[in-house]
């Protein structure tokens, strides 16, 4: 079951191609990370999903039906370039934005109180936005994004500008909303948060999807048979035990007098072969496979593609 499917979306502005035959599927209930360097086309795709612009070709399916104007009521969107009316009062403004999303005045009011209590900001209701600090305003923006109970929440760089505490609160809220049944799409450069909250990702670069799938699956796709070995003993003895099928990739002092070494296995070498070679020389405590971090995957994909072009 998919919340959203983009099928062969192409969008060009004058001479510039923003999206070239892009297809992605966002499963219901997932937290979907939309990754890519600046200018890759993420915002163009998000704007098409929000019906701010239309694609030149291709189509979007929302809940398995073609995207239509009423769907904006079921989407909450926090743009990267975001702001509020400075002279308007916080409460009034949140209700206005919720009503533009089709919610009734009374319900918006009720829901807003719940959110204000959750965030402990009930005192802000009658404050003007210009009196709020940047961090406070961002909390309000987050509230306006989700106030109308959207099924699908799109957050473009939600963590930028937040201090670690507020970023943590937002992260927690994202997961809570997911648990309550919402599907979240978040576009970000912050790979640590991707690993923490995203269940699926798609990486867009130069207007095309380079990578898509569940996070563990994507990460394991980039495994390179690198293992981290913890052992007690001499580093020299460890090195001497290796051969062309198992190359030392790096080493460091570990805790409690242990040492850590990373080893890349080549050809048909297995972990068992490695252990068989090591055990006579050092005392092995643990062997774990190194799964690449999203950071590394991101950089690798982007650089590869750039080099290819």
């Amino acid at each position: 079951m998919h919340m959203l499917r983009a099928e062969n979306i192409t969008k060009t502005y004058a001479e510039h191609t923003a999206l070239n035959d892009v297809s992605i599927s966002v499963p219901k209930g997932s937290v979907f990370g939309l990754l890519g360097p600046n200018g890759a086309g993420k915002t163009s795709l998000i704007r098409i999903i929000n019906q701010i612009t239309g694609p030149d070709s291709g189509r979007i399916l929302f809940n398995d039906e073609p995207l239509k104007p009423e769907h904006v009521h079921s989407i909450g969107y926090l743009p990267e370039e975001r702001g509020l009316y400075k002279k308007m009062k916080v409460g009034e403004q949140c209700i206005y934005l919720a009503r533009l999303k089709g919610m009734s005045d009374a319900e918006a009011r009720k829901r807003l109180w719940e959110w204000f209590e959750r965030f402990n900001i009930s005192g802000w209701w009658d404050k003007k936005v210009e009196e709020l600090s940047k961090g406070m305003a961002q909390k309000v923006q987050f509230v306006t994004t989700v106030l109308h109970r959207p099924e699908f929440i799109i957050l473009d760089e939600p963590f930028s500008g937040f201090d670690p505490i507020n970023a943590g609160i937002i992260r927690k809220e994202i997961l809570r909303l997911r648990d309550e049944g919402a599907t979240v799409m978040l576009s970000t450069h912050n790979m640590t948060s991707v690993e923490e909250v995203c269940s699926h990702i798609a990486l867009i670069h130069h207007a095309s999807v380079m990578l898509e799938g569940r996070v563990p699956e994507v990460r394991s796709r980039f495994k390179e048979s690198v293992f981290e070995v913890q052992f007690a003993g001499e580093m020299l003895a460890f090195t001497n035990a290796l051969w062309t099928g198992a190359e030392l990739a790096g080493h460091a002092e570990g805790d409690l007098g242990l040492r850590k070494a990373t080893v890349k296995l080549r050809g048909n070498t297995t972990v068992n072969d490695l252990l068989a070679a090591l055990i006579p020389h050092v005392s092995v405590r643990s062997v774990t496979e190194v799964i690449p971090r999203m950071d590394d995957i991101f950089i690798r994909v982007v650089e590869q593609k750039t080099a290819a072009v």
Partner: protein, 447 residues
């Protein structure tokens, strides 16, 4: 409420609740009525009493038994409630005058018949009304003296004096025409439209720029179509303008009625207008002024077809406003900050200012070809046409009015269409110095 309604609602109420709006709305009519009242007050309600010492230096002795031996002005200046004359033939020094009971000292030189000049010494500058009364009194005496000198009979002189009345008659229906005067009233409406378009057009532009630079616009157009946002803003601001106008009309009307009731009871009473008008001719110059004012009042109240005038005002105001406001909205969307607006404002302000100039020209030459063309072309018609509407149309020319109205509707639809295209692209375009070439490209973008 639909979404455009919500936007109109927000645009309207945030503006109407602003302190600056409330202050301007209330202060505007007070200022206007105050200025009008002040003018009337200064001219009319001078209640001070003037005790005038006439120092008559023309030959003669004041106490002479025969009227022949008396100086020229002795006892010949008419006293009124406010101005009383005393006579002497010995001038007071300024210091003596200062400590005397007289409020004015008028010195008539011995050769006043050849050098018509009097010197008026005052402690407090007398009102215009008192001065012109004194002047008229002296003139009358001097005139009488000159008539005697040239042995001209007073009656002959009166019959020679001519005060020509020009009555313009419209050949088409044979009625007396007050077109010139009516045009002035139309011009006042034209000025009003001109200012309202500018004032509120710029407000629309500012509002668009505010949303763009606040970066709230992307959130809003993820909920509504850009066109709804733009039209909501334009309509909301229009309602603000109409509210302000309505309050101004009501407040100014009330205040003016109160002020004029207090100062000029006759002006507001049409029955009094008739009587004073007929009597006026025979009385004195003061009453002549009064009669002229009454004529103006009559013109304002009766000659102009007010229902048509107001309906046309509303139509041309709204049409012109919609046309210009959408262009202003497009400019606001195209630029990042106020300083960049200049280059795009120019092509909008030039036709508007030009319309104003043509409207002024129409006062002097209402049937000129230029006036016809610019009262029909949509960019200038809202201003220029008001002058022509005030003058009225007949069966042969009324098509020009309908043509102008139709073209204005077409014009604003075109402007809205054009503006919507620029707006849609512009509001999401940041950090780019936009050129006309770029704008042209936007017009050709698909959604």
């Amino acid at each position: 409420m639909n979404k455009t309604g919500l936007i109109i609602n927000r645009e309207y109420f945030t503006r109407v609740r602003k302190k600056s709006f409330i202050v301007m709305t209330i202060l505007g009519p007070v200022l206007i009525a105050g200025l009008m009242g002040l003018g009337i007050y200064l001219g009319m309600s001078d209640q001070s009493v003037y005790n005038v010492l006439v120092v008559d230096l023309t030959p003669g002795v004041i106490d002479s038994e025969t009227s022949k031996g008396k100086p020229m002005f002795f006892n010949r200046l008419k006293n009124t409630d406010q101005v009383t004359f005393s006579y002497t033939n010995r001038g007071l020094s300024n210091a003596e005058f200062d400590s005397s009971a007289y409020s004015l000292m008028v010195v008539a030189r011995p050769d006043i018949l050849t050098v018509p000049e009097i010197e008026m010494v005052f402690r407090k500058l007398p009102s215009l009304k008192a001065r012109s009364y004194i002047k008229a009194q002296f003139e009358k005496v001097i005139e009488g003296e000159k008539l005697k000198l040239h042995s001209i009979d007073k009656r002959t002189y009166d019959s020679i004096r001519t005060d020509l009345d020009v009555i313009s008659v419209d050949a088409s229906d044979g009625t007396t025409s007050f077109k010139q005067e009516q045009a002035v009233v139309g011009f006042a409406f034209a000025v009003l439209i001109y200012f309202f378009i500018f004032l509120y057009g710029v407000q629309v532009m500012r509002g668009v720029m505010e949303e763009k630079s606040n970066r709230i616009v992307e959130v809003i157009i993820s909920s509504v179509r850009p066109f709804q946002l733009m039209m909501g803003k334009i309509i909301g601001v229009a309602l603000v303008g109409l509210t302000q106008f309505l309050v101004w009309v009501i407040l100014t009307g009330t205040l003016f009625a109160l002020v004029s009731q207090a100062l000029l009871p006759e002006l507001t009473d049409p029955a009094a207008v008739q009587t004073t008008e007929s009597v006026a001719k025979e009385v004195n110059e003061d009453a002549m002024n009064q009669a002229m004012m009454n004529e103006v009042a009559e013109l304002i109240l009766f000659r102009i077809n007010w229902p048509v005038m107001l309906a046309m005002f509303l139509f041309f105001f709204l049409g012109g406003y919609l046309l210009y406001a959408s262009l202003f909205a497009a400019v606001g969307a195209a630029v990042d900050n106020e300083t960049d607006t200049q280059q795009f404002m120019l092509p909008i302000t030039i036709p508007l200012i030009f319309a104003f100039v043509v409207a002024e020209f129409a006062l002097a030459n209402p049937d000129g070809a230029a006036v016809f063309w610019f009262s029909v072309v949509p960019l200038t018609s809202p201003v220029v046409m008001m002058v022509r509407v005030a003058m009225g149309f007949d069966a042969g020319t009324v098509w020009e009015l309908f043509l102008a109205m139709a073209l204005l509707v077409a014009g604003f639809l075109g402007a809205v269409w054009l503006a919507a295209k620029i707006y849609r692209t512009g509001i999401l375009m940041y950090g780019k110095k936009v050129t006309y070439k770029e704008l042209y490209k936007w017009l050709r973008f698909k959604t």
